[in-house]
Amino acid sequence: MAKMKVEEQRKQRTKMSGALMLIEALKAEKVEVIFGYPGGAVLPIYDKLYDSGLFHVLTRHEQGAIHAAEGYARISGKPGVVIATSGPGATNIVTGLTDAMMDSIPLVVFTGQVASNVIGSDAFQEADVLGITMPITKHSYQVRDIQELPKIIKEAFHIATTGRPGPVLIDIPKDMTTAEGEFDYEQDVHLPGYQPTVHPNHLQIRKLVEAVSQAKKPVILAGAGVLHANASHELRQYAEQQNIPVIHTLLGLGGFPANHPLFLGMAGMHGTYTANMALYECDLLINIGARFDDRVTGNLKYFAPNATVAHIDIDPAEIGKNVPTKIPIVSDAKEALKELIHQDGKRPDITAWLAQLAEWKTNYPLAYQNDAQTVKPQKLIEMIYELTNGEAVVTTDVGQHQMWTAQYYKFNRPHRWVTSGGLGTMGFGLPAAIGAQLADKHATVVSIVGDAGFQMTLQELSVIQELNLPIKVVIVNNQSLGMVRQWQEIFYDKRYSHSLVPNQPDFVKLAEAYNIKAFRAKTEEEAKEVLKQAFSLSEPVLLDFHVKADENVYPMVAPGKGLHEMVGVKPCDESLQ
């Protein structure tokens, strides 16, 4: 009987076009914002979007759309949704897809495609998007039967947001958007090949509890997995319960409060002395949701050489990939931490270890020599930190400004930090800030970018102005590709091959051309003044800081070196001269 009723309901369903199905599906998924750019192959979709009531942000480049979607996803915890047209529209999102794949950001991306009957004929604006994006998506689909569209969209949202999050792409041939079919979005997702392990194995948890109880020098390395699992609270609870110090990866920042006494700072190439030495000296390393990236570990030969390694990760392929692991725990970070807290194991006796860590913290803090006649980039970040009480949402590109921000902006809250970590994408920060602001309308959003990266996606200023998003765009302007210049200074005998860019536009005038208020500062005093002014305004502001151009990021673990071989630990370190 019940079956017949369902059948009847199905029959009653009116047919609708693929484009309308897409709109209906997005509504069913409660999508708040779509980032996109129209074009020939997606015209039927945009036609249905026109009076759908859905909020669509027209970025000025598809790369802007996908980075904005990443920023939105990172702050809201919901999947970012992107629409791009076929061919160039789709190829313009390739960088963003890769970025999202590397940093496990949930996205559902729709690309238009030429009509089914001309696919493969090198038609106008045709590109093999499925082929191009296969290695840079968690999964992808091409719609070949209109009846499958609702199921595909439903699966895409499920796959993007569960397990280890990531981007899912749906390529829709134009004829599929006009073809009609029945819209059934009630069906359950059934994917036999995709069953992420969410709950930890109890035996493995017991092993970890045992290892912790016997550890003399334990340390937790927490990555973005903690943030994706919304497990900041549990991480803190567990670290406090067991009295274990915590280190963050770049992407994990904010997962554990930076002002907590158990926090040792960021690990890796530009991490703190204490964090890196703790990783080198520890006897038990508990990795929670980090993937042992090479920028974190340095030379693997010297990475945690005396430690028993435990690794909690929702992606089994990350466990043992780079670092041999004694205690593998495949699990969602929150579930594993809850279980560990529940076990309430014996607290290890680590008085000596804590004393050692405290000594390092006191003797080797992050440090720089200030010079008030210029704007020191580190000082700039500190000023922004103080002005925003460490509460702002901060986005960055990649490079020197990113490292200084990671070092000197102390994130005490989770989900405030949006940066391109794994892929290291220039031009990420500005569009990501748009998404971040839309995800949290009341947040103070600061986009800290370099002068070079800014010029890769600056067209999105137009969107910021149009939507009057009160984003503060901070350009750390050293008239160079700072990190490239730094490496050339240190490793290439100061041969600054194509890294110095003194020829640049007047960024203040440029912002004004976009009808955005802008200020410039060249000394600390000026910087203080313009920052105060900017943050008192509830509208977008662009700030061009001419920072000391030859400033380098320290401390630093040179490529190929172990974490314990840091240079530039003290500002007066001879190796800096």
């Binding site: 082929g131 296969m134 290695p135 999964h139 796959i159 090949g193 089994p316 392929a317």
Partner: protein, 166 residues
């Protein structure tokens, strides 16, 4: 390994091997007894256990991959088919017939100056036959690559010589 028989699935798998820098020795693909599900058998040379484990895990992450089984160290039935075109003249033709007999190979095509031998078996057996036929002049070889099953009974599992089969 069993996979959903969807467009692009082979591309996904081979792309993964390329991306992660693994070399494929051979692949075979075909339908299974279940509609919509295909079986793929890969032979991959790896340096250590860890790499084998990593490949298995990466394959498992693919949504369309249903089951991955590393059968390197299991008791298995592994078969490959090869077609070998050998240069012949009337004087050696009969000799080849005799030569291939212990291999349970058969001649499937004969022409004035060549014949085609079909042989099925484990890769080693095929190698051996090719070696034997080489002196006559091999014109062409077509091999299918290994396809394999685990044996019904696993009692006397021995380490299989081919490094890594999934």
């Amino acid at each position: 390994m069993t996979v959903n028989n969807r467009p692009g699935v082979l591309n996904r798998i081979t792309g993964l091997f390329t991306k992660r820098h693994y070399n494929i020795e051979s692949i075979t693909v075909g339908h299974t007894e279940i509609e919509g599900i295909s079986r793929m058998t890969f032979v991959v040379n790896v340096e250590d256990e860890r790499t084998a484990e990593q490949i298995t895990k990466q394959l498992n992450k693919q949504i369309d991959v249903l089951k991955v089984n590393d059968i390197t160290d299991q008791a298995i039935v592994a078969r490959e088919l090869a077609l070998i075109k050998v240069a012949v003249n009337s004087t050696v033709r009969q000799e080849i017939y005799t030569l291939i007999e212990p291999f349970r190979a058969s001649v499937v095509d004969v022409s004035r100056d060549s014949l085609v031998v079909q042989v099925t078996g484990e890769p080693e057996k095929i190698e051996a036959l090719i070696d034997l036929l080489k002196p006559y002049g091999i014109k062409e070889v077509a091999r299918t690559g290994t396809t394999a099953f685990t044996r019904g009974a696993q009692k006397n599992a021995v380490s299989y010589k081919t490094p890594f089969i999934i």
